[in-house]
C-alpha cells in the first residue's frame, strides 16, 4: 500500500524583494510504501533538508503535492497543521531537540499532552516503548544529565509515542559517536521490522546502508536510487559508497 506519494515537487526560494531566486527542488517525484525504510543522501545544499521540511509540513512547496495516505498535506490549512503533525508524524533530529526544561519523560509526553491525553493513558503507552529503547530507568532525568545516545533514544521515544504513520529523521546519527550511532540504527531496523515507515536524511554511508532504499539527491533532483533487495549490509554499504563518489566527483546521470 502506498503511504506517501510525492509528485512534481518544486520549491523556489525568493529573496524578499524578488531579486534573487533559488531553485531548491526541481520536479521531485517518488512514492513510499507502507513499512519502508528510505534514506535520502546528498551533499549540503542539494535540497534534502528542503524536501524533508516539506514532507514534515513545516514548509510548503511552490508547486506539486505530497499525499500521506491519500491526503494532500500541502493543502492542509495552517490552523490544522500543528495537529496534523502531532498525530501523523514523528520527528528525530540531529541535535535531539529535547526541551531542556522538561525531564525525559515529560519530553516524551509532550505531543500526547498537547493532544489532551491524561497521565494514566500516557503512562500505559510509555512503558513498553521506554523498556524497548532501554531508557526506562532514566526517565526522570533531565536532558543535560544524560548522554547523546540516551537523548536520541528519548527523542525516538517521543516520535514513537504518538504511533505516527511516518517517522522523519534528520541526520539522526549526526551528533552521536559510532557506538551510539550503531545502537540507534539497529533500533531503527527493529522498529522498521515491526512495520514502522521511516524516512531518514543522512550524510552517513553507514546510516544509509541500513535503509531498504536510498535516494540520492543532487541539485534539487532525484539523481539515483538503490534498492537493497537481497543485498547484505556490506554489499549495500559498498554500493552506496560508490554512488556517492560518483555523485561528488560530478558524474552525470547515466543509469
Amino acid at each position: 500500500m502506498v503511504m506517501l506519494e510525492v509528485n512534481n515537487l518544486k520549491k523556489v526560494y525568493t529573496s524578499r524583494f524578488g531579486g534573487n531566486k533559488v531553485q531548491a527542488l526541481t520536479d521531485v517525484s517518488f512514492s513510499v510504501e507502507e513499512g519502508e525504510f528510505v534514506a535520502f543522501m546528498g551533499e549540503s545544499g542539494s535540497g534534502k533538508t528542503t524536501l524533508l521540511n516539506i514532507l514534515a509540513s513545516l514548509d510548503r512547496p511552490t508547486s506539486g503535492y505530497v499525499k500521506l495516505m491519500g491526503e494532500d498535506i500541502t493543502a492542509i490549512p495552517d490552523s490544522r497543521l500543528a495537529a496534523f503533525r502531532r498525530e501523523n508524524l514523528g520527528f528525530v533530529f540531529q541535535d535531539f531537540n529535547l526541551l531542556d526544561t522538561f525531564s525525559l519523560m515529560d519530553n516524551i509526553f509532550l505531543p500526547l499532552v498537547l493532544s489532551g491525553r491524561n497521565y494514566a493513558q500516557m503512562k500505559v503507552r510509555l512503558n513498553p516503548i521506554a523498556r524497548r529503547l532501554g531508557i526506562d530507568d532514566i526517565l526522570n532525568k533531565f536532558p543535560y544529565e544524560v548522554s547523546g545516545g540516551q537523548k536520541q533514544r528519548a527523542a525516538v521515544a517521543r516520535a514513537l509515542i504518538t504511533d505516527p504513520k511516518l517517522i522523519l529523521a534528520d541526520e539522526p546519527t549526526g551528533a552521536l559517536d559510532s557506538k551510539a550511532s550503531d545502537n540507534l540504527l539497529n533500533l531503527f531496523d527493529e522498529i522498521n521490522g515491526d512495520g514502522q515507515t521511516i524516512l531518514m536524511v543522512t550524510h552517513s554511508v553507514k546510516a544509509a546502508s541500513h535503509a531498504k532504499r536510498v535516494l540520492f539527491i543532487k541539485d534539487g533532483r532525484i539523481f539515483h536510487q538503490i534498492y537493497r533487495g537481497q543485498m547484505g549490509f556490506e554489499e549495500m554499504f559498498q554500493r552506496v559508497s560508490d554512488t556517492l563518489t560518483l555523485l561528488t566527483t560530478g558524474g552525470e546521470k547515466d543509469e
Partner: protein
C-alpha cells in the same frame, strides 16, 4: 596592530551591538543628567535666597546622593549584562588570533567612547532640563520664579568626575573578565545545560516568615512612634521576603503544582509550568529588583503626593487662626481674660488690625490606655513602652465650643465628648489617678474629630476629652498634680487671633512682635507666672510647609523617574535575554507539533506573568504599607485617610500605566528576537 584599527573596530562593534549598547548609553545619559540636575538645584544661587531653603537644599543633597548610589548600581548591572552578551564575540576574536591585550585595548576604547559620549550627552541634557526642573520646583514650593539661566561649572565638573570614576570601575571589571577568560568556555558559554531549579524548603519558610513578619508589623503598629521605630525593620523584612519570594517561594509553589499530575499534565499547564520554573530561576533576582524599585517608587510618590495634596488641611489643623499663641500658666488660678486682652492689644501695637480674638484653656497629661475606655496614670517610665501611651487633653466645653466644636450640644455633669484617632470610641471613659482618685465619664457620641493645634503633629497619640465646664478642667488638674507631683502638667491657653489683613507681611510683623514680647508683658515685673509659649502665623507656616512638602514632592517625583528608568532598564535586558533563550525553544515546540499561534500565546502568557508579577507583589506591599504610611503622615498633620487613599490610588494608576507602557515597548524587542 595600529591604534587606529582598534578605534575603528570599537566603533564598528558599538554599531553592530546597538541593541544592547543603546540602553546602556541611555542609562548613562539619564543618570548623569539626573545627578547633575539634583546637585545643581541644591546649590542654585536663586534657591539660596529662598525662605526655607534649608529643606530644599537638604532634600537635593539627599536626592543627589541617592541618585549617585543607584546610578552606580544601574551602570554596573547594565555593563555586566553587555559583557555577558558579548562573551561569544570575544571568544571569536580570540580564536581569530587577537591576544588578550588586544581585546582589552579594544574593549577599553569602546568603554571610553560610550562613557565619553554618554557623560557629555548627559551633561547636555542636564543643563537643558535644569531650567525646566527649576521652574517645576519653584511652582511646587509656591515661590516666584526668578529669571536667568544658570550653569554651574563646578557641579558639571563634579558630575563628570564622579561618573568617570563609576565608568572607570566598570572598565576595570571588564578588563578583569577579559584577563580571566578561557576561549573555549567563552565560545560555548551560552550552550551549557541548565540544572532544574531546586526549591529549598528552609529558605521558602524563611521567606514566608520574613514577608509575614513585615506585614504583621505593618498591620499591628498603632501609633506614629511605633511606626517610626519599626518602619525600617518592616522594610528590611519585606525586602528579604521579596527576594526569597521570587527566588525560592515561587519555585516551591510551582514544584508543588508539578507534583499534582492531574494538574500538571494538562496541555495548558504543562508547558507553562515547566517554562515558568526556569524563567523564574533565571530572572528571580532581576524581578525582585524590579519589584523593590517599583515599591520604592510607589511608597515615595504616594507619600509625597499625599503630603503635598494634604498641605492645606495640615495648615488648618496646625494654624487654625492667623495668629495662634499658646501660653502655659504656671499658676492654675490665672485668669484667661487678661491674656486675651493682652494679645489683642499687642497685635494692634504691631500695626495690625484685629478682627477677633478668642481663647480656651486645656490641660494635657500622659496616661496609659488599658482598653475599654480605661486610662491609668503611672509615675513610672512611659518611654519604655510607647504602645498605649496617650496625651489626654481635657478641654472645658463652654470655653472651647465656638472655636473647636460649634456643632456639639452641651454635655451634662458626668458626661463628656471624646475624640481620638482610633476607629471606634468606647461609651464610657475612666481615668485612674492613683492617689488622686478616679474620674469617670459617660461618653456622648459625636461625628467629627477636632484637633488642638499644639498636638496637630505630635508623635504621641492624643485623646481629647471635652468636659462640661472649667470645674472639670480644675478637677483634672488637681488629680494629675497629686499624681505627678513636681512633674505635673500646667494649664495652657490657646489664643486665636484673626486679623483683618491676611497678607504675609502683616502677619509676620505681628507674630514676631508677639513672640518677642508677649511673655515679658504677661509676666510684668519680676514674677514668672507664664512659661514657654508658641506663636504661629498661618502664612509663614504655610510658606514653610509648602517649601518642605514641595521639596519632598519634587524629590519624590525626581527619584521616582530615576527608579522607573532603572526598572525599565532591567525589564528591557530581561526581555532581550529571554528572547535569545526562547528562540531555540520556540523552534522545537513547533516541530513537536505546536502551532505557531499556540507557541506564541503560551510564551506571551508566560512573559506577561513574569513581568507583571513584580507589579503585583509591589501592589501587595503597598496595600500592607498603607496603614503604616497613614500613621507616619500623621507626623506631618495629614489625618485624612480618604485623601491619602485617593493619592495612593492615583499614583498607582499612573505607575501601572507607565509600567505597562515600558513592558509593551520592550516586548516588541522580545518578539523581534524570537521570530
Amino acid at each position: 596592530m595600529s591604534k587606529h584599527i582598534f578605534a575603528k573596530m570599537a566603533v564598528q562593534n558599538i554599531k553592530s551591538n546597538r541593541r544592547i549598547f543603546f540602553p546602556y548609553l541611555l542609562t548613562i545619559i539619564g543618570t548623569v543628567a539626573g545627578y547633575y540636575i539634583c546637585l545643581a538645584l541644591g546649590n542654585d544661587p536663586g534657591i539660596m535666597e529662598m525662605r526655607g531653603n534649608a529643606y530644599v537644599i537638604s532634600m537635593m543633597n539627599i536626592g543627589s546622593a541617592v541618585i549617585l548610589f543607584f546610578s552606580a548600581i544601574f551602570l554596573i548591572y547594565t555593563n555586566s549584562f553587555v559583557v555577558k552578551r558579548r562573551q561569544k564575540e570575544m571568544g571569536l576574536y580570540s580564536v581569530l588570533g587577537m591576544g588578550k591585550r588586544h581585546i582589552a585595548l579594544m574593549l577599553s576604547v569602546e568603554t571610553l567612547i560610550i562613557g565619553a559620549v554618554g557623560v557629555a550627552a548627559g551633561i547636555g541634557v542636564g543643563v537643558l532640563f535644569y531650567k525646566l526642573c527649576l521652574l517645576a520646583l519653584y511652582k511646587i514650593v509656591d515661590f516666584p520664579v526668578p529669571f536667568g539661566f544658570y550653569v554651574s561649572f563646578e557641579m558639571v565638573s563634579q558630575t563628570v568626575l564622579l561618573f568617570a570614576v563609576i565608568i572607570g570601575f566598570t572598565l576595570l571589571s571588564n578588563l578583569w573578565t577579559v584577563m580571566r577568560f578561557n576561549t573555549i568556555q567563552l565560545m560555548g558559554s551560552q550552550k551549557a545545560g541548565e540544572k532544574e531549579p531546586k526549591a529549598s524548603w528552609l529558605l521558602t519558610l524563611i521567606g514566608i516568615a520574613a514577608l509575614g513578619g513585615g506585614y504583621y508589623i505593618a498591620l499591628n503598629v498603632t501609633t506614629a512612634v511605633e511606626a517610626l521605630a519599626f518602619y525600617f525593620a518592616a522594610v528590611f523584612l519585606v525586602i528579604i521576603g521579596t527576594y526569597l519570594l521570587f527566588t525560592t517561594v515561587s519555585i516551591a509553589v510551582m514544584k508543588l503544582l508539578k507534583r499534582n499530575l492531574r494538574f500538571y499534565y494538562k496541555s495548558r499547564n504543562f508547558i507553562a509550568l515547566s517554562g515558568m520554573l526556569y524563567r523564574m530561576k533565571r530572572n528571580a533576582v532581576g524581578l525582585a529588583n524590579i519589584c523593590i524599585l517599583s515599591t520604592m517608587v510607589l511608597v515615595m510618590l504616594s507619600g509625597t503626593v499625599s503630603l503635598y495634596v494634604g498641605t492645606e488641611d495640615s495648615i488648618e489643623s496646625r494654624c487654625p487662626a492667623d495668629i495662634t499663641s499658646t501660653v502655659v500658666f504656671k499658676d492654675e488660678k490665672e485668669d484667661m481674660g487678661g491674656i486675651v486682652d493682652t494679645v489683642r492689644l499687642m497685635a494692634a501695637e504691631s500695626g495690625a488690625r484685629v478682627e477677633r480674638t478668642a481663647a480656651y484653656r486645656y490641660i494635657a497629661f500622659a496616661a496609659m490606655y488599658q482598653g475599654e475606655g480605661a486610662f491609668t496614670t503611672d509615675s513610672g517610665n512611659y518611654a519604655t513602652n510607647s504602645r498605649g501611651v496617650f496625651n489626654i487633653v481635657v478641654i472645658p466645653y463652654d470655653e472651647a465650643k465656638e472655636l473647636l466644636f460649634p456643632e456639639l450640644t452641651p454635655p451634662e455633669k458626668g458626661q463628656a465628648y471624646m475624640a481620638w484617632s482610633r476607629e471606634t470610641r468606647p461609651t464610657r471613659m475612666t481615668i485612674d489617678f492613683g492617689p488622686g482618685g478616679v474620674m469617670a465619664f459617660e461618653l456622648l457620641s459625636m461625628e467629627k474629630n477636632f484637633v488642638v493645634s499644639y498636638f496637630a503633629n505630635d508623635l504621641t497619640e492624643t485623646c481629647y476629652l471635652v468636659v462640661p465646664d472649667a470645674s472639670g478642667l480644675m478637677a483634672a488638674y488637681d488629680a494629675q498634680a497629686s499624681r505627678y507631683g513636681d512633674e505635673k502638667s500646667h494649664i495652657r491657653c490657646e489664643v486665636r487671633t484673626e486679623l483683618t489683613k491676611k497678607d504675609y507681611e502683616t502677619q509676620e510683623t505681628c507674630r514676631n512682635y508677639l513672640f518677642e514680647n508677649l511673655r515679658d508683658r504677661l509676666n510684668g515685673d519680676g514674677e514668672n507666672r507664664f512659661m514657654s509659649l508658641r506663636v504661629d502665623g498661618r502664612e509663614s507656616y504655610r510658606r514653610e510647609v509648602y517649601t518642605m512638602n514641595g521639596s519632598f514632592l519634587f524629590i519624590g517625583i525626581f527619584l521616582g523617574l530615576i527608579f522607573v528608568m532603572g526598572a525599565a532598564l532591567i525589564i528591557y535586558y530581561k526581555q532581550v535575554t529571554e528572547g535569545y533563550d526562547d528562540r531555540e525553544r520556540f523552534k522545537i515546540m513547533q516541530q513537536v507539533g505546536l502551532s505557531h499561534k499556540e507557541v506564541k500565546s503560551s510564551v506571551r502568557a508566560q512573559i506577561l506573568m513574569v513581568f507583571f508579577l513584580p507589579l503585583l507583589v509591589a501592589t501587595m506591599h503597598i496595600a500592607f504599607d498603607f496603614p503604616i504610611m497613614l500613621l507616619l503622615l500623621r507626623l506631618f498633620s495629614i489625618t485624612d485617610g480618604l485623601l491619602v487613599a485617593k493619592c495612593t490610588g492615583a499614583v498607582f494608576a499612573v505607575f501601572a500605566l507607565l509600567y505597562a507602557a515600558v513592558y509593551s515597548m520592550t516586548a516588541g524587542t522580545y518578539y523581534k528576537i524570537v521570530s
